[in-house]
Amino acid sequence: MSVLEQEVPGVVMTPDNIRTRKLPPAVNLGVAVAALVVAAALVLGLGIGNWVLVIVLGAAFYLGGLFFAAGRVEGVRAARNRTMKSLIYAACVLAVLPLASVVWTLVSKGASRLDGDFFGTSMNNISARDPMGGAYHAIIGTLEQVGIAALMAVPLGVLGAIYLVEYGKGRFAATVRFFVDVMTGIPSIVAGLFILSFWVLIVSPYFNDGRPQFSGFAAALALAVLMLPTIVRSTEEMLRLVPGPLREGSYALGVPQWKTILKVVLPTALPGIVTGVMLSIARAAGETAPVMLVAGGAAAINFDPFAGNQQSLALFVYQQAGDASKYAPARAWTAALTLVVLVLALTIAAKLLARRNKLSR
């Protein structure tokens, strides 16, 4: 007679006690309502807060009550599982709230100055009482600085990644790789201070009769310092995904290594490299601090990145935010919206490109 067939006295094998028991959804809902009612009564009765406190306290009571109720029905382990799940869901809701608020504020406040004037004029001769004025000069500045920065950082970054993947061996390559990672974390303001002390204060006087000079090019240098490690990292990752047989096939045909890299490896990895470059450009376009330290900001249009102060979109937002004019906040929000649209468009395009990339992990 097997164990299964033995009768255990007092236990009847029904579906109820061979499955684990579940807390009915109605009880779950009941606990939620009760928790809210208790919280509301407590908060409003004692007058210690408003509806926000009711919700927070209600959520806490709900978690406690759920743990208790589920613990009675399902056992402590299942109750703990349930509570952690609720906490994790609650954290998601909590995180979405401020982010939704940021987006809503940005769109609602930023829309007020979305007119042709904003994109067609600069802040030249705009006094504190003028409602007009725009960000044309700032958009020009951002595009020029980011463009020059990309021109410097992209070749350097891609070549650096080629070194790390194709040529680098041993301790030196490991050191370079380590410091590329470390460089990713350099604060933008430190990059700004570096270009300030190197380019603006030491090098630029040679081009400007001995006087230090702010310029858009200096800002581009600082942005390039910030972009370089991101480009190296993303390119390196992409080059590593290029299949080895592709390289070997090329070598077998007698193609030298440099030609293999340029004609076979790079084109294969190109979509991924472009994605990384676009992400780093998006990050650089949003930087405020380095531009403020080395380009100085300006009210007028300056097309020449090599001489004189230049504005950028992010810096424009910051300066208008600190401006005392009652029209400044509207300009700041519209510029912020423009900046976010620019950055997000680049980012989304990069991500979509990455999705179409055939070389993926």
Binding site: N81, C92, A173, I186, I189, P229
Partner: protein, 356 residues
């Protein structure tokens, strides 16, 4: 056997004379004249290595590009030191312990103490708020959410990491400040007996506002890094835990979290690095005072980076040097934090690769 001479006996076989580098025929069997050249036995038909070629040039170029990173890091330290030292020599106070910041006076007195304190306090507070939430979201994305929801949500989180800090700063100052002020008044009324919530006001532009804004900014970074780590948990570990009867949370606690721990620590430290260096968001939201105070809700607070942004415009030569000196301190702090984080990641990678 031996009826025909072997091919290699024919000294001219394979001597195609394609280029000047194909000088010798196969089987010449000559020893190389110098150690640089490969033995030219049967392979003599292959091209010899040229002393200078595109290959050498390309290799040198890419090596130089790789070395550029080291050059830049060293240059940052060198140039910051060169500009900071003259200002530090004019300083009449102790740079490390002084809390005031008057570098533009005729008798400059300035110190990093209050600024460094504010930087560390606001960053740690921001991490304290954001790390639990970020880990919860990462777990939600990797282990709870259905794939249809997890993919777009992860996409949105990645997008948020790209939003410029000045936008968060503007939002924090113009919009978020009011709720935080109300909350601060409430905290002060009921928890005023705690020193961190004490004080007479005014409230609002406080360490708390700065730390909350920072927390929102750090959240996407910590989330996306730890989500990646959690997703790499070996499926067999998870299945083994589930097969032993673990609930989902027990599976996460016993299989996912221990596996992801080093990665999570590294993600948190990278978030810390970003929080420490954050400039504009804090320049817009903090109250900018120069004192060391643990009070979180009264107007006040400052950080190294925010101070640079705020006082740069009216700084003279000494003032600029002083700001560069403070930037050097920030550079050193973030360098240490980042190097620690990377060292953890590297050790974990070696461990994982050798285990695989």
């Amino acid at each position: 056997m031996g009826d025909y001479p072997s091919r290699s006996d024919n000294a001219t076989a394979g001597d195609l004379g394609v280029t000047s580098r194909h000088a010798q025929g196969a089987g010449a069997g000559v020893y190389p004249s110098s150690n640089d050249e490969p033995p030219v036995g049967g392979g003599g038909a292959l091209p010899k290595k040229a002393r200078f070629s595109v290959e050498t040039a390309f290799r040198a170029l890419s090596t130089a590009a790789g070395a550029m990173v080291l050059v830049i890091i060293v240059a940052i330290a060198a140039f910051l030191v060169s500009k900071a030292v003259p200002a530090l020599q004019k300083n009449n106070g102790n740079f490390l312990t002084e809390t005031t910041w008057f570098p533009n006076d005729a008798e400059p007195v300035f110190g990093i103490a209050a600024l460094a304190f504010g930087t560390v306090l606001s960053s740690l507070l921001a991490l304290l708020i954001s790390v639990p939430i970020a880990l919860a979201i990462a777990l939600f994305l990797s282990h709870y959410a259905p794939k249809r929801l997890a993919t777009p949500l992860g996409f949105v989180i990645d997008l948020l990491a790209a939003v410029p800090s000045v936008v968060f700063g503007l939002w924090g100052r113009d919009y978020f400040q009011q709720p935080v002020r109300d909350f601060s008044i409430w905290l002060n009324e009921y928890f005023g007996w705690l020193p961190i919530f004490g004080g007479e006001g005014p409230f609002g532009q406080s360490i708390m506002l700065g730390a909350l804004v920072l927390a929102i900014m750090v959240l996407p970074i910590v989330t996306s890094l730890s989500r990646e780590v959690f997703q790499q948990t070996p499926g067999m570990n998870e299945e083994a835990a589930l097969a032993l009867g673990a609930t989902r949370w027990e599976m996460i606690r016993t299989a996912v979290l221990p596996y992801g721990k080093p990665g999570v620590i590294a993600a948190v430290m990278l978030g810390l690095g970003r929080a420490l260096g954050e400039t504009i968001a804090l320049a817009l939201t903090l109250g900018i005072t120069f004192d060391i105070s643990f009070n979180l809700i009264q107007n006040g607070g400052n950080s190294i980076a925010a101070n640079i942004a705020n006082s740069f415009a009216e700084a003279n030569a000494t003032g600029r040097g002083a700001l560069i000196a403070s930037g050097l301190v920030l550079f050193a702090i973030t360098l240490v934090v980042n190097m620690t984080a990377r060292a953890i990641i590297y050790r974990r990678r070696e461990f994982r690769d050798s285990a695989a």
